[in-house]
């Protein structure tokens, strides 16, 4: 993976502002879990497809998305 996409799930308010801008529609709500705020937090389904455009992180009003650039030859990054 070229990028680590880290979601601070517990602070997600489920506002959806991160979702519609992803060209590859990688971001969705994780219906399998509820965070402490009682919402299904946003998650990235296939982080390996991320091109690091940053739109999701840019639009997140709660700054819970961090995008890190990894060194390309490292095969695995931190899953967020």
């Amino acid at each position: 993976m070229k990028f680590n996409i880290i979601f601070n799930h517990e602070e997600c308010k489920g506002c959806e502002l991160c979702i519609p801008w992803c060209k590859f529609e990688l971001i969705s709500f994780d219906k399998s879990r509820l965070n402490k705020k009682g919402v299904h937090p946003a998650m990235i389904a296939h982080p390996e497809k991320c091109v690091g455009c940053g739109n999701c992180a840019l639009m997140c009003p709660d700054a819970i998305i961090t995008i890190e650039k990894t060194e390309e030859d490292r095969s695995q990054g931190k899953e967020g």
Binding site: F3, N4, E11, K13, G14, C15, E16, L17, P20, W21, V39, G52, C53, G54, N55, A57, L58, M59, C60, P61, D62, A63, I65, T66, I67, E68, K69, T70, E71
Partner: protein, 249 residues
């Protein structure tokens, strides 16, 4: 490994307490990241306001003073005159700036005070529960305009950028929106330009940010962004109203 997007250093490591989807958080993130990019975090003083924007001091990791309703530009005047080399900005909502604080903002611009105002316009009083502001659009229903704003009774929406750009001391005035990633990137550039205007000693600068209040508008956050595009931008055209560098050319 390098962080492309993350929480800026000039924000405290505490969660925002704004409503879900409120663009205050987004805007504060922009302001903080511009401060970081300019490497001014150690030399910035921010001035809060009253309203939802008044939460700013709790989230900004810079020197801050909490200000009375509408009085931030007067506070900032005192702060900047005592700290001429520092980056000073006020962060004010539309109730604060365009209603109770009109005298203070106009005269700060009039004196050409060398600080920047980040003006968050969401066409309503958010914290008090969605009352009509001077910036409320015609026909917009609020708790104090329950039948929709009537221009005959309440006047037309107040255009702060247009108003201030008639004042000589105002040197950089731009209106931006935060309805999409493209707009947000433009907004960030505008904030940077305003801070640079200030640090160049040119005069007063203000960035108006068309923002949302999903809770009081009764819309989802995404519908709220759509409302910026369909209703607010037509009433409040985006663009640069004053640019000291253009003036010099």
């Amino acid at each position: 490994m390098s962080v492309l997007y993350g929480k800026p250093e000039s924000l405290n490591d505490v969660p925002f307490t704004f409503c879900p989807g409120c663009t205050h958080g987004l805007t504060l993130k922009l302001v903080a990241s511009v401060i970081d990019e300019m490497d001014m975090g150690d030399d910035t003083i921010s001035v809060g306001c009253v309203g939802c924007g008044g939460y700013m001091p709790w989230f900004m990791n810079v020197d801050t003073i909490f200000s009375l309703h509408g009085r931030a530009p007067a506070n900032a005047t005192g702060v900047k005159r005592m700290n001429p080399d520092k980056l000073v900005f006020t962060y004010q909502g539309d109730g604060d700036l365009a209603s109770i604080g009109t005298a203070e903002i106009i005269h700060a611009a009039h004196r050409g005070e060398k600080f920047t105002t980040i003006f968050v316009n969401n066409t309503t009083y958010g914290m008090t529960g969605g009352q009509m502001a001077p910036t409320t659009l015609i026909g917009q229903k609020t708790t104090t305009s329950p039948y929709g704003r009537d221009a005959g009774l309440c006047g037309q929406p107040l255009h702060i950028c247009e108003l201030l750009s008639t004042i000589d001391g105002a040197k950089y005035i731009e209106r931006v929106a935060v309805d999409s990633p493209v707009s947000v990137r433009k907004a960030k550039k505008a904030i940077r330009k305003a801070f640079e205007c200030q640090m160049a000693g040119a005069g007063f600068s203000l960035i108006e940010i068309l923002s949302t209040c999903p809770t009081n508008w009764g819309m989802s956050p995404l519908e709220s962004l759509e409302r910026i595009r369909t209703e607010m931008i037509p009433a409040y055209p985006l663009g640069v109203f004053k640019d000291w560098e253009e003036g010099d050319k």
